[in-house]
Amino acid sequence: MDILIPPLVLGGLGMVLGLLIYFVALKFGVEEDHTVQDVEHLLPNYNCGACGYPGCKGMAEAIVSGKAVPAQCKPIKKEEIEILNKYLEALKTGTPVEATAK
């Protein structure tokens, strides 16, 4: 039965450490701001650069910080821009919205 000791110790240690990480994350975890990511998901994600920003991530950051407007995006479709505008409007009024990512 000696052969069972190493896997049990390693497995047990892994479990203890995993649980520790879980509880540390539960206690000290930080809610991150997902706004930029949500806006990026609502953009076409072609990374064409036609808006003048480096890729859709740069454009999303600019939109969130108020430096750009969604209309600057060239390839976005009409119904997509409506969803994006609705999301930004809700963001301004402070009502939490679920991003309808594709």
Binding site: P6, L10, L17, L20, F28
Partner: protein, 191 residues
């Protein structure tokens, strides 16, 4: 007391982790380009090695040695170090966003830094007591920080000097590391 001083001096100068043991070289060449980033990485390594040294030493002494599974130390230590860095990252993120911004990108690098594992294993193979382990685990990363900072200063100066085309970039950095290693090898005559 003299014993502890000898260990500290030896670990810091003579057996310097970068220039004598050749551990953690990847971060030495990579991060040692700028003073600010070398300082950030160095401080992150100091905290990690001290914590990891204590955790691995305790696990080895009180769990693995009584069960006679010392041969498992490499894999167990890797597991412990990775978990420890992960926890540290979460806690730093919560309590000090500024520190997290400064150290954040270096923390994942440390998980796979061989210097951390090297110190943990050396603590065991040399059969250090708790105090000796603590001194060794503090002196080694401080030596790392010291050498890395000197290296970064010289490399920043080097950027402004005309280096022959064939030596520009990494080659001259390697030659510089070799020269530093030669200088540090002379400390061996002190003890």
């Amino acid at each position: 007391m003299t014993n502890l001083l000898t260990i500290a001096f030896t670990a810091f100068f003579i057996e310097n982790v970068l220039l004598y043991q050749f551990l953690g070289i990847c971060s030495f060449i990579g991060v040692g380009k700028k003073r600010s980033s070398s300082l950030g990485m160095g401080l992150a390594v100091v905290v990690t090695i001290i914590l990891a040294g204590m955790a691995t030493w305790a696990i080895y002494r009180y769990v693995m040695e009584p069960l006679e599974i010392g041969y498992m130390k490499t894999i167990v230590f890797i597991l412990v170090i990775a978990a420890l860095v992960q926890m540290m990252e979460t806690i730093i993120k919560k309590f000090s966003p500024a520190l997290y911004k400064a150290l954040g990108i270096y923390l994942p690098l440390i998980t796979t830094n061989c210097a951390v594992l090297g110190v943990a294993i050396t603590n065991i193979t040399r059969d250090y007591s708790f105090a000796e382990m603590l001194v060794y685990s503090a002196a080694i990363p401080l030596g790392y920080l010291f050498v890395m900072y000197i290296y970064a200063i010289i490399r920043e100066k080097l950027e402004l000097n005309p280096v022959p085309k064939a030596f520009r970039g990494v080659p001259i950095a390697m030659i510089l590391a070799a020269l530093l290693a030669i200088i540090f090898s002379r400390f061996g005559g002190l003890i």
